[in-house]
């Protein structure tokens, strides 16, 4: 008496259905259609940027008194910032130094925030005493904007990199914490019962039940946190550091080098986008089990 059977017939019917479809009279047609379909997304995504670029160009080009430099000038400044040899001024060939400085602060502050917020979130979500102890304090600290911390951060950590680091940390900390707590608190109680009757009890449940069950939420928190880290970086680098994309923007502003300001903004946008894409890819891989992520 075998216990198999149910569901066995379903996949078996699939292969027989496929060959019929591939006997299409026009074998070359589908690839073209598929190609067009694939290009549709990127094409639509480019409409708004290209239109903006065009409006920007026609509104600023050949107007000597425009306060906003035209796109061509910004592009020139960006090439000079990246590789030098065009303007040969204080900003030439400095892009990679600034990008590296900002990246290390964003990821350093983010990593520190994740390292603090994850265990704290697991505990607050799962241990009532910890929740009673920490939740009220954190709820009061949370609405304080990162910018409001700036003066105090400069007093506590001095002018320089550690203040920037602290502010990025603060910006990333709360989204990660809040989403972790939420994820932990919404784990189905049934799963704790299931784990307990299978012999997984006490602290072991943190690693084997709470963490994986809360992972989708945690990932949302990490994505938001990293996004905030990029938002905060400009504020963080207003604390008197010499390098970083935020510092470059502030310095260029004082020198009325608006094209450099726009370059800095663009680079932050692209860097933030790429880092979000990376986190999303990692998340998709780790959450392939989840019907709403995989």
């Amino acid at each position: 008496m075998s216990a198999a059977i149910e569901g066995a017939a379903v996949p078996a019917t699939l292969p027989t259905a496929l060959p019929a479809q591939s006997q299409s009279p026009m074998p070359t047609a589908p690839p073209l259609r598929v190609l067009l379909k694939r290009l549709r997304g990127p094409a639509l995504a480019l409409v708004v940027p290209l239109a903006t670029l065009a409006i920007w160009h026609f509104a600023t080009a050949d107007r000597p008194y425009s306060l906003v430099p035209p796109p061509a000038e910004v592009w020139l400044a960006l090439r000079d910032m990246a590789f030098g040899g065009i303007n040969d001024d204080a900003f030439s060939a400095t892009l990679w130094t600034h990008l590296w400085a900002s990246l290390s602060r964003v990821y350093g502050g983010f990593a520190l925030a994740a390292a603090a917020a994850l265990p704290l979130g697991l505990m607050i979500g799962r241990v009532p005493v910890v929740r009673a102890l920490l939740d009220p304090v954190l709820q009061i600290l949370r609405p304080i904007p990162v910018t409001a911390w700036l003066p105090l951060a400069m007093i506590l950590f001095g002018l320089g990199a550690s203040s920037a680091f602290f502010l990025v940390f603060l910006g990333a900390f709360y989204p990660i914490l809040v989403n972790t707590v939420f994820g932990v608190r919404s784990v189905e109680p049934r799963l704790f019962e299931a784990a307990a009757m299978l012999g997984c009890t006490g602290p072991a449940q943190f690693l084997r039940v709470v963490l994986p069950a809360a992972l989708p939420s945690i990932f949302t928190g990490l994505r938001l946190g990293l996004g905030f880290a990029w938002v905060v970086i400009v504020v963080g680098e207003m604390t008197g550091v010499q390098t970083g994309l935020g510092a470059v923007i502030m310095e260029a502003r004082q020198l009325s080098r608006t094209e450099i300001v726009i370059c800095g903004m663009g680079v932050i946008g692209v860097a933030g986008f790429v880092s979000d894409w990376v986190v999303m890819r990692i998340g998709r891989r780790l959450l392939s089990w989840s019907p709403s992520h995989g």
């Binding site: 059977i5 997984c200 084997r208």
Partner: protein, 259 residues
């Protein structure tokens, strides 16, 4: 049941009262029951009769307010692998594949990786899910999920399987097939099964003994021994006589409330 052997499960004068904001709810009053090793016992009754509460006390998820719940004559202090639970809503870990769900118990109990793998393999085959070993729960049908849930407690060397309306959410065809499979497993492994249901036919088809419970407050009313030969023919006169009798009894539970 005058055998000298120690029963696998003893429920002795167990009561359970929940205290909530609205006041006290008496879910179970003075329940007594013994289950011998290898028996298939069904708890049958309308909703609110305390059958699930009794099962959860046997599992160790809840402590009795009064009375004793014993396994092999030792008090049940909490959930344990020797008493595996199968839930109506499966309770599978959605982030684990079929293989890892079934291996969860042995792994939790510190078995070496190779042994966990072998055990999982064996029980995947036992419930006929070999081709779905790497699938995640959300990719499975309800019947397949419940097979995983059953394999999961068997792989963990459960001596007694506690089932809380396990087939209640399945369609009729799947339910009948799983009932057959469960009886087959039970006959082959010598398991003890305590099975909660509100379906009379299911209870008669499965059980050695049917424990009839009644609501308000929940209590055990009568215990019927079903001595029809297996595999039971649901259309036989004896089956139907028993069904009619239990049905009359079950419906009488509602009568005082309706009046």
């Amino acid at each position: 049941m005058a055998e000298p052997t120690v029963p696998i499960l003893t429920i002795r004068d167990v009561s359970k009262t929940y205290i909530a904001r609205g006041g006290r709810t008496e879910a179970l009053r003075g329940a007594g029951l013994t289950v011998q090793r290898g028996e298939f016992v069904c708890l049958l009754g309308a909703s609110g009769c305390g059958k699930s509460t009794l099962l959860r006390i046997a599992a160790g998820f809840e402590a009795p307010s009064a009375g004793q719940a014993l396994m092999w004559d030792k008090p049940i202090a909490g959930p344990a692998p020797s008493r595996g639970m199968v839930f109506q809503d499966y309770g599978l870990f959605p982030w684990l594949s079929v293989r890892d769900n079934i291996g969860f118990g042995p792994k939790s109990r510190g078995r070496p990786a190779a042994e966990v793998r072998d055990t999982a393999r064996r029980y995947i085959d036992l419930v006929g899910l070999g081709r779905f070993a790497d699938a995640y729960p959300h990719q499975l049908s309800g019947g397949m999920k419940q097979r995983v849930a059953i394999a999961r407690v068997l792989a963990n060397e459960a001596e007694m399987v506690l089932m809380d309306e396990p087939f209640g959410a399945l369609d009729a065809m799947t339910r009948e097939r799983l009932q057959d499979e469960l009886l087959d497993l039970w006959a082959r492994t010598g398991l003890t099964v305590l099975f909660v249901t509100h379906a009379i036919e299911e209870a008669i088809f499965l059980a050695d003994r049917i424990v009839m419970m009644s609501p308000g407050p929940g209590r055990i009313e009568t215990v019927h021994t079903v001595d029809l030969p297996r595999r039971r023919d649901v259309s036989s006169p004896a089956f139907n006589d028993l069904r009619r009798m239990l049905s009359a009894q079950l419906h009488s539970h509602h009568a005082p409330k309706a009046a």
